[in-house]
Amino acid sequence: MPKEVLQGTLDLMVLRTLETMGPQHGFGLAKRILQVSDGMLDLNQGTLYPALLRLEQRGWIKSRWGVSDSNRKAKFYELTTRGRRQIGREAASWERTVSLMDRFLRRPAPGEE
């Protein structure tokens, strides 16, 4: 997949994961995303971090240092209100794109022409 598209989709995946799972650190996020994608996504886990920085710069997530389950210091990320709103917007946009492409790509049913 071209890098730009992957960026956008990865961003949305991160936001949604944070919405359902609550605050997570980088490792937890990576694990969950791979889980949900069920093998469809071939991701270098490190690429998560530039994406997280980008989302933070946009103001959709915020970060703070905390303690992980294994008692290690880790940086936790969570959604902001703006981020929450952004999910709704992005999801709607995806729906539109999907239904639009669907019209073009749908094979005509027998009898329709």
């Binding site: 490792f27 990576a30 886990q45 971090y49 530039p50 210091k73």
Partner: protein, 893 residues
């Protein structure tokens, strides 16, 4: 988003450290997971790394999120350019110096233009302040306001938020360590609040302090307070003896307070008695503030409406009828206060700014030439980079950044020069430049300089970019950069630049030539005074408290004159109420009534200048007596009804000076007629560039003048003719002589008539100096340009020269070839320059006097000068070329 990136840029190091920490944590966690699934320590580690992906890539991708790429590339390019400039310090220095001079000069003159013409006056909402003047039907002259008008406007106006009168007088302050003559600003009580400036210490005047016989109060200006009281805050409440009367100090004005251009030390109130106000007395300048939303046109209509009301409301002065005032009612002449203050100096300033702008263009052309040469030297480097894949845009971008950088550095140095230059302008510039105190290098000037540096940098940077950033140059690698088409193109570019320089230099030279002729013409005008450098002047004011009786005032003044005349070396001494060539003399011009002159109803009498003088004035000034005689002291003390007129006045009324003798004039219909006993030569009292003012001279002590039973002039300018005028020793002797009569009399405005004369010419001389400097520098730069081009051509054709010489050509013949090339360039430039000058001199015609803007002599001489310099500039490299041994030229050329 941008903001986020910017923030990351600033916290870069911390973010990098945090990322490293996070990645470590992630890696450890992955490793732990793999180990839990059964992999060995080594394998678990490897698997974890695979899952995470290349740490280097991640870190770089992370870093890419920091910062703003454009800025980073720019910063890198700037560092690169600085390095490459350091490698050719000679060219860089030459460029920076040239630019510093060009940009600095423009920054300085812009600071002047900004301070004088563009900035609003230093009062709150200065845009709604207007100067209230009047015209009178039938004359084109302008009159200030009058008390009867002031009271009416204040009471009846619908468009004016406030109105006030002011006037400046000299005043004597005594009671401190030594008596001092100061500049007093008298105002109506509402003027300071109208302007919107509050005293920093104390308070402004109350209504009681502006009422007749009210308490006497004075406000000090900051400068005076610092000078005389050392900034002591306890000055409030102290008493100051001013003109013999005690005034309570009630306030001090802020430091930034400037009252138009008047040098003011103290501020007092007029204390007009409204019940005594009559019609007439148009001697008070007036300022008003428009109500929000009101326009000047509306205010004009308002005033036109109020004038008849005013005439009805107040009584006419004795000897006049109300009908006379109604018939010759005044009309409003309102103007924004700034315009009234700035006057016509704008013409001069814009011309100077234009000239310096042209000079900058010449400088830029020079710099472009220098950079072209430098770019030539770097052709190989650029070609290599282009071959290695640097895009045309990138190379062009780098060259532009380089030239812009040069521009900014040059501009920075220029700003330093401008600061120095401004000090010089303020000291030696036209001394009647308005708003002199407001000329500073403020943020507007800084912005202008920065913008100018950028534009200049882009301008001269474009030429090398256009010529050299082209990847076609990759071909140049092969032929060593000496392709014929390439060098011909370069030569054309440089020749065009030089032609442009020559043309612009000629325009500047023509303009300075015209100013020189103007100055000469002005200097040749017979001022009416002879040897003004030998006339010492000093203003002395006899205070009312010391000498209340008007006639005694004259006796004191005569005593002073006698003492002054007794100083060794003094040939003559006298006094007059107006200082000759004084800048404000025209403000008091008034109507003279002539016996036998008939004026049709509605036709107004012309305004004449009145001067009140002592005997001996004309001998002191060196003004020729054309007919009749001078006043004598008997005329004064017997209060004889006599008068003297200037020659132009005599001719205007009675055809010849001789015919004027015996005729009768008076200043008011209620006065007795005065007989003209003398006619004197004209004097250019308003300046050399204006026709001589028609003047009526009256004795300084008179009875029944302007309906006054007895009148004398306490504040007069004393004039002393001596070859030693102006020297320290002489001035001290003058002081001693005056103090022998009265030790409490301070002298003010001590200068020679020569100083006043030079001051009246200063606007012309200032412009002349600037244009001459600009013209000379332009000529030098143009000469350097021609030299550069010819030297280059010679260097390219050394082989050819060698061949010619070897084949027997005379050295002089070869030289003539190159000199001719140079002359062709110069001729082309001169032709363009003449055309340009023919068009552009129109812009300075308001500054010219006694010379036409198309003056053939100026054009011819400057062109000749230019061609002579060009010939020399072309000759030098040509000569050097032909001195070389032709064998060397053939071998190494």
């Amino acid at each position: 988003m941008m903001l986020g990136r910017l923030r990351s840029l600033l916290r870069r190091r911390r973010l990098d450290a945090e990322l490293a920490e996070e990645l470590r944590h992630h890696l450890d966690a992955l490793e732990a997971e793999h180990r839990a699934r059964g992999l060995s320590g080594e394998e678990a580690r490897r698997a974890a790394k695979l899952d995470l992906g290349g740490i280097g890539t991640v870190t770089e991708a992370y870093r890419d999120q920091h910062g703003i790429p454009v800025l980073e590339t720019l910063w890198r390019t700037v560092r690169f350019s600085l390095r490459s400039l350091r490698r050719t310090p000679g060219v860089a220095a030459a460029v920076i110096v040239t630019l510093a001079v060009g940009i600095g000069a423009n920054a300085a003159i812009f600071a002047v233009v900004n301070g004088v013409l563009l900035k609003p006056l230093p009062f709150p909402e200065a845009g709604s302040l207007i100067a209230v003047n009047h015209g009178m039907t039938g004359t084109s002259d302008q009159l200030p306001s009058a008390p009867y008008l002031y009271f009416t406007y204040r009471e009846e106006s619908r468009t004016l938020a406030g109105v006030g009168l002011w006037r400046t007088f000299p005043a004597n302050v005594t009671g401190l360590d030594r008596p001092e003559q100061v500049r007093a600003l008298l105002v109506t009580g509402d003027l300071l609040p109208l302007l919107g400036i509050q005293p920093t210490l104390g308070r402004t005047f109350t209504a009681a302090e502006d009422a007749p016989n009210g308490p006497l109060a004075v406000i000090l200006t900051h400068g005076y307070w610092q000078r005389r009281f050392g900034g002591d805050a306890s000055v409030i409440g102290r008493t100051l003896a001013i003109d013999g009367q005690p005034f309570a100090v009630i306030g001090v004005m802020p430091q930034r307070f400037r009252f138009l251009d008047q040098p003011v030390d103290i501020i007092q109130t007029f204390q007009f008695d409204r019940s005594q106000v009559t019609l007439g007395r148009y001697v008070f300048p007036s300022i008003a503030r428009l109500k929000p939303g009101a326009t000047i046109e509306a205010a004009s209509a308002d005033i036109a409406r109020m004038v008849p009301l005013a005439i009805e409301r107040f009584p006419p002065p004795p000897g006049y009828t109300r009908e006379r005032f109604l018939k010759r009612a005044v009309t409003p002449r309102l103007s924004p206060l700034k315009d009234a203050l700035v006057g016509d100096v704008g013409g001069t300033l814009w011309v100077v700014m234009g000239a310096l702008g042209l000079l900058l263009l010449i400088a830029c052309a020079n710099v472009a030439n220098l950079l072209l040469v430098r770019a030539e030297g770097r052709q190989q480097e650029i070609a290599v980079r282009a071959a290695l894949g640097a895009s045309r845009r990138r190379i062009a971008g780098e060259l532009l950044v380089e030239s812009t950088l040069l521009g900014i550095i040059g501009g920075g140095v220029g700003l330093l020069l401008a600061h120095q230059g401004l000090q010089a302008v303020i000291r030696f510039g036209p001394s009647n430049l308005p708003r002199l105190g407001e000329i500073t290098i403020d943020p507007v000037v800084l912005l202008f300089t920065f913008g100018l540096s950028l534009v200049a940098g882009l301008l001269f940077g474009l030429l090398p970019v256009v010529k050299y950033a082209n990847p076609r140059i990759a071909r140049a690698l092969g032929s060593g950069g000496r392709t014929v088409s390439g060098s011909r193109e370069r030569h054309r570019a440089r020749s065009l630049l030089v032609t442009f320089q020559i043309a612009t230099a000629l325009v500047l030279l023509v303009c300075s030539g015209l100013m020189i002729r103007t100055f000469q013409a002005l200097s040749r005008v017979d001022s009416g005074f002879s040897q003004p450098d030998h006339v010492q002047m000093a203003r002395i004011s006899v205070p009312f408290a010391d000498v209340p009786d008007p006639e005694r005032v004259t006796r004191v003044q005569q005593a002073i004159v006698d003492r002054l005349a007794a100083i060794p070396g003094v040939t003559s001494a006298a006094f007059a109420d107006l200082q000759p060539l004084g800048p404000a003399n025209a403000a008091s011009d008034t109507v003279l009534f002539v016996d036998g002159a008939n004026y049709a109803p509605g036709q107004a009498r012309p305004l004449r200048r009145f001067e009140f003088i002592s005997p001996g004035l004309f001998r002191t000034l060196g003004t020729r007596l054309v007919a009749g005689r001078d006043f004598t002291w008997v005329d004064l003390y017997d209060k004889r009804p006599v008068a003297i007129v200037s020659e132009n006045l005599a001719r205007e009324e009675w055809e010849t000076p001789a015919a004027a003798l015996g005729k009768r004039v008076r200043a008011s219909p209620d006065d007795p007629w005065r007989e003209i006993v003398g006619v004197v030569a004209d004097t250019h009292d308003s300046g050399m560039h204006l026709p001589p003012a028609p003047i009526a001279y009256f004795p300084s002590l008179m009875a029944r003048f302007w309906s006054s039973p007895i009148m004398s002039f306490r504040s007069s300018t004393f004039l002393i003719r001596s070859p030693r005028a102006g020297t320290e020793a002489f001035i001290r002797e003058v002081h001693s002589a005056v103090w022998e009569v009265n030790a409490n009399l301070p002298l003010a405005e001590v200068r020679t008539l020569g100083d006043a004369y030079e001051r009246s010419l200063s606007r012309t001389s200032f412009t002349l100096v600037i244009l001459a400097i600009a013209g000379t520098m332009g000529l030098m730069l143009g000469a350097i340009g021609i030299y550069g081009v010819i030297a280059y051509v010679v260097s390219q054709r050394t082989t050819e020269i060698g061949v010619r010489l070897a084949l027997g050509a005379q050295a002089s013949q070869v030289r003539r070839l190159f000199v001719r090339d140079g002359l062709v360039l110069a001729a082309a430039g001169a032709a363009a320059g003449i055309a340009g000058a023919l068009l552009l001199t129109r812009l300075m015609s308001s500054l010219l006097f006694g010379v036409s803007r198309l003056d053939p002599l100026t054009f011819a001489l400057t062109t000749l000068l230019l061609m002579a310099v060009a010939t020399l500039a072309a000759y030098v490299p040509a000569r050097r070329a032909t001195r070389n041994d032709p064998i060397d030229a053939l071998r190494y050329g």
